[in-house]
Symmetry: C2
Subunit: 779 residues, 2 copies
């Protein structure tokens, strides 16, 4: 089958010659997408540069479809708008807010469920190990520990590998790409949601150095997408109310809300969630969306708060008070001096260097893993089991290197710790001693962070402990991202950053007025800034996590420095993953070299165009032999004096039209008649993979010779550029307005009314460098 497909692609190339370079978007996802589709070309110039097509780690990125954020103005839709009553407009607004509320509620519930499940699973595992160790059964303890980890890891990997490969990894890059207009296959499907939730629970509980933050963002986006499509055809009731949301624009807004809700649920940071959506996730933004996102995250915050109050009485098993990170850095002294500032600057520089190195190594490891992962799901699971074993060995083995510390006197907490959480793990030590490395390793990641952030004496953690822990987490973090489990990047980065931050605090000791816990926070900030390259949103998330506003300037400073330093070396980790997955991401700014090209330089004919009233056979043939998603419609005599551009018709609309079979024997305009036969919502965008497919259409031989009027479904106001328009400015238009197709019209009269179509692929550097290899992309 994969053979057939590649031949199919070649056919197009032969049929249309250079012209096939345009409209390269793939149509509705093919069911045959096996591992071979991972290597399907995204850009036809792949022979010159194939780094961008490296598909990764089970995330089945092909076929990639672009999204339509443009308002499509065809006669049918216009009639629908005109006929909208006040009730319907009210319905729309009501639905919008109800959906925001529902997204907030669901994401909040998923967040709390995730936390309760993780705390109980991991708590059970840790208690079991603890109990065995107390009885000096060290080997049994290791077997129990590693065994639990492996079972959980295998469950997560099996879900990911066999059910929804798209659920592997963080999910933030995919959501980011979606909001930019790239719809990778099944990224928001129900199966992905299911696997993301349970895979993340199992993965985090399995003791991997992964977070639940990225997966939570992805979960939020999936929830939003499902709610937006909600009801589909099964529940007639909701279908009618939600019909206005059956378009890419409204769906994009919902998913932005979902992403914000995800961050809010992960960190209990409502404002941070909004800012994250704004700074990192979204490509388009408007003030109204700010408000709606804010509402969603507020709902999440209320839900989380309610459940935490409910669980305080111990009604949620081992969940207790913990789970959701909420650190209280009790830095009573909001004063700092020059040495502190120097230390902070130093932390920023270190964070930038470690961060960019981290990104570089993650990239290399991902590329290696993708070779393994492409060989099939069983190898994926095997890789996960290997990493799980390695992680277990590190967590259990390394604490033996640390010497036992006698418990400090006059302590509020119990020492050594009795329960599941706490700073003073006994591990192998004699009574009244604790192992500080075990306090970090043999805890959940959230608790480890809380321990690192805790203010207190300098001596709580030894220098060697922090060095070993940092090295182990840095290394494990890099080799864990990319295996087939949902894995967030925030937690590993915070852990590593906090450990070197606290290390510096310990070293400075009495030289500095600042608390060691606060140094840990600054370290985490610096490493986050160095890897993720966000500023405002990270700053606010850290503020909301630690509830300490007075240290804001220092956190800002450290973030600015680490981002600046890291930007000298490479891109942020999410951008890097987007690029690596070969998703055609449109940057906000046009590249300088685009100024030397014009629109017609990257586009080329001949085109597949339709006449205003076209023969059914021609349409069917064009749909079959091409994979184009948009076709220009040309009005020709006798319908106009000269050939003129009527507009653009979408493949998905043509499929619905053909399925409806309202054909005429004569070549006449039957628009008004058709408008009464079809409803606008017949042409509404279906959920991913649910639209009419070419195979569903059964046209008889005699119908092939009949005509169909395309005018009612033709978007008569497509955005156009003149062929001599600078490519840079065309790219700005494409990006700012959120287009899928941009028509290029001729400058001089007397030529066909359209020169070609630009899609987002035509703006990709790989494509342009394929056409003009001598170009210096930095000039």
């Amino acid at each position: 089958m994969s053979e057939d497909r590649s031949k199919d692609d070649n056919d197009i190339e032969i049929d249309f010659g250079a012209g096939a370079r345009m409209q390269r978007e793939r149509s509705a996802p093919s069911l045959s997408s096996s591992s071979s589709s991972l290597r399907e070309p995204l850009l036809l110039t792949r022979r010159t540069n194939n780094t961008s097509q490296l598909a990764i780690v089970g995330a089945n990125v092909c076929p990639i479809e672009s999204l339509d954020y443009e308002i499509i103005e065809n006669d049918l839709f216009k009639q629908d708008w005109r006929s909208r009553t006040k009730t319907e407009i009210f319905q729309y607004i009501f639905c919008k807010w109800t959906l925001a509320l529902l997204i907030g509620l669901s994401t909040g519930l998923v967040g709390i469920f995730n936390n309760i499940a993780v705390e109980n699973l991991a708590g059970f595992k840790l208690l079991l190990t603890n109990n065995l160790m107390l009885k000096d059964k060290y080997y049994q303890a290791f077997v129990a520990y590693a065994g639990c980890n492996m079972v959980l890891a295998t469950a997560a990997a099996a879900l990911c590998a066999y059910i929804a490969p798209a659920a592997a990894g963080s999910g933030i890059p995919e959501v980011k790409a979606y909001l930019n207009g790239v719809d990778a296959h099944s990224i928001l499907a129900p199966s992905t949601l299911f696997v993301k939730i349970f895979g993340s629970i199992f993965g985090v509980a399995a003791g991997f150095v992964v977070g639940k933050e990225g997966p939570m963002v992805h979960t939020g986006a999936c929830v939003a997408s499902l709610l937006g499509q909600g009801g589909s055809r099964k529940y007639r009731l909701t279908w009618k109310w939600l019909r206005y949301f059956k378009n890419d624009r409204d769906r994009r807004d919902l998913i932005t809300c979902g992403a914000a809700a995800g961050v809010a649920a992960a960190f209990r940071a409502p404002v941070g969630g909004v800012l994250f959506a704004l700074e990192e996730a979204a490509s388009w933004w408007r003030s109204a969306l700010l408000w709606r996102t804010f509402f969603t995250t507020a709902v999440v915050a209320v839900v989380l708060r309610g459940f935490m109050v409910f669980c305080r009485g111990g009604k949620c098993g081992l969940f207790g008070e913990g789970g959701l990170i909420m650190f209280d850095v009790n830095s009573a002294k909001p004063t700092y001096s020059v040495p502190d500032l120097l230390a902070v600057i130093f932390l920023g520089v270190i964070g930038g260097i470690f961060g960019s190195l981290y990104n570089y190594l993650v990239d290399k490891v991902l590329r290696t893993y993708s070779i393994i992962n492409e060989r099939g799901p069983s190898l994926k699971v095997l890789l996960v089991i290997t990493i799980s074993l390695l992680t277990s060995c590190c967590s259990y083995g390394l604490p033996w290197l640390s010497r036992c510390i006698p418990c400090p006197a006059h302590l509020e907490d119990q020492c050594p710790t009795v329960g599941r959480t706490g700073n003073y793990k006994n591990f192998q030590c004699p009574p009244h001693h604790y192992n500080d490395l075990a306090s970090l390793f043999m805890n959940t990641n959230d608790d480890a962070i809380r321990n690192l952030f805790s203010s207190g004496s300098v001596k709580e953690f030894q220098l060697s402990t922090l060095i070993v822990f940092f090295a182990a987490i840095y290394f494990l973090g890099i080799i864990t991202y990319g295996i087939a489990v949902p894995s967030g990047l925030f937690i590993p980065v915070i852990l590593a950053g906090a450990s070197y931050g606290r290390l510096l605090g310990n070293l400075l000791g009495s030289l500095s007025d600042l608390d060691v816990g606060f140094f840990a926070l600054l370290g985490a900030a610096s490493f986050l800034g160095g890897t993720m390259r966000m500023t405002v949103s990270l700053c606010v998330i850290l503020l909301e996590l630690t509830n300490d506003l007075l240290m804001l300037p220092l956190v800002m400073l450290v973030l600015l420095i680490s981002k600046t330093v890291a930007d000298c070396f490479n891109k942020g980790v999410y951008d890097q993953i987007v690029k690596m997955k070969g998703l055609p991401y449109m940057e906000a700014h046009a590249e300088p070299y685009m100024r030397h090209l014009v629109a017609s330089d990257v586009v080329s004919g001949p085109l597949v165009t339709f006449s205003g009233v076209e023969k059914v056979g021609n349409i069917l043939h064009a749909l079959k032999i091409t994979r184009h998603n948009g076709f220009p419609v040309i009005n020709e005599p006798p319908f106009s004096d000269a050939p003129e551009l009527c507009g653009l018709v979408l493949r998905s609309h043509l499929l619905v039209l053909l399925k409806g079979k309202k054909f005429a024997r004569q070549r006449v305009m039957t628009g008004t008649e058709m408008m009464s036969r079809f409803k606008a919502h017949d042409f509404a965008k279906a959920g991913s993979g649910k639209g009419v497919k070419l195979e569903d259409i059964d046209i008889k031989e005699d119908e092939m010779e009949m005509y169909v009027d395309l005018h009612p479904i033709t978007n008569t106001s497509p955005y156009t550029v003149v062929e001599t328009m600078s490519l840079a400015k065309a790219a700005v238009l494409f990006r700012e307005v959120g287009l899928r197709h941009l028509l290029v019209v001729p400058k001089t009269p007397g030529r066909p009314p359209i020169v070609g179509i630009l899609t987002r692929h035509d703006f990709m550097m790989e494509h342009i460098l394929g056409l003009y290899p001598h170009f210096n992309p930095h000039k």
Copy 2:
């Protein structure tokens, strides 16, 4: 002179008939702009609807110029880009960050200066009054109090009325309009900056119910604008480095930073400042800007912090610890129950109703004042003096209505207050008693807010006190905005909101777990939400002010409710003022009725076009008889086979070209020669009012017959739409890409290559309704 100008306008109408409806932007500001220019038409359809042209309160809004946020790609600029060395690119980046640093530093310094000055002036006044009252000299005390107020008020009004009328009012609407692309006259001029700083100091010290927040935003924007133009021609050194910033795009970015810095300086809220710039001020945003804005506000925060530490020792006169608002609501109980939630919802609804009523009344009062203010500066000053007297009477007179309260026992603070600030003003009361109304009225506004927010016993303020204070502030706030002093809206709104919030807290008493000070905060939030209609930024500003993160969900809730309620009645106060001033503000979304129109419906010919190589006389004539800012350039035979659109040339570029006098006797292309004679920075955008003017150009008779090649300065990549493009989608393009001119090209061949030009005025509702009066603007 005003007669001449209106005749001039009529001339254009006669010359071009209906065609003059396009390109109505006014060119370089005329020096003759007197009060008559307040009535200059912004929209030619003013006869049908003139609400939007009401110019206001001394803010000399005409002539209005549009800004160019589009990248202009002409041959000269392209050559310049191509020849840029790495050093120059580094210079640009270095400059960008240095400017951000300088903006932060300057705005921070201005902020601290403002606070120190206000605290010392107002402190002196209050101490004087206090001392006289202690000696029972009540009449002398009133005279001293009212006299001080009046002197300060007159100083502020005189500055505003005679030096810079544009400095009156908040300044936020103007900055908002500027960032949308509307350059009102002298809004960012040095004189405006000067008057804004000193006028705001005098106005706030004079005891008006005005804030310094709006003026601070305007100040930040002015500082940014001046720094961006910095050096101009006087300082050769900086000129060279800053030449890349001589365009509207880079200037817009700087001013966004400045606005954010202003909020950060006013509230000491760096994150709030960034969000304010994003949510309220800016119309265009990108991720890179987020970062730069954040840097600027961080610098502001550091400067403020440094000075506050410095001033703590009493080195700044009466400044002490206070001045910059930083309230500590010590609500130790972060728990709330159902009655609390109901109270909060009630507060939200009340806030929405009061807020929209406030906006309505402010609008009415502004319209009334504008009639007075138009009559000349002396009447402006008189109005200010009247309001000052009224305010003094209220502040001094109303506390006599309140009965004296015995000082509570066991108090940390002194009672009655001895110094300048404090909760327990003695006023007319016997020893060991205090007058709670005087504690609010006879303090600076900042201190009054701090008193209202203070946690403490329910009985500190009586119910009647809070009612009287609320009524007085609500009333004074409405009648004070619009007089000729720089007047922010935040403080009056916070004061009024806090008083009814605290009132509700008092009424609920023991029913609620929440602190009365926290109720005051919620009240302030609700009223802010009801007037300004911001959500996220207000929430963060309030958080940063009060340093209390745990109450975040309640603040969010109250903001959401009050905004929703108020939005049912009218628009936010800043939008309302923008509309009232007649500034042609482009909304983010297209109005529904625009879907029923196409581009050619609102545009009309004949046009003034130039040939690629044009006769000097023709250009000069066109520049003289029209006020158009952009002219299409058409290539005609023999330079092309058929007439074709070459691009768009700007008036300002033409003026520089004519001044340079590089003409040729023959009608030939002299582009390459010209490119060597002119440098790109000759055509850089000059500072407001500094460009070449038509009067500066002296063309001799024989030169009139010579030719000049327009190609090098023609923007060859203007954005175009086809004439049948839906107006709604053209508006989206115009707004999203930030255009000044949008060319409309014909659909069918065989016609002139351009149909017309759309400017922002063509998208204004008044213009469209003038053309199509039967239109239902809501459909």
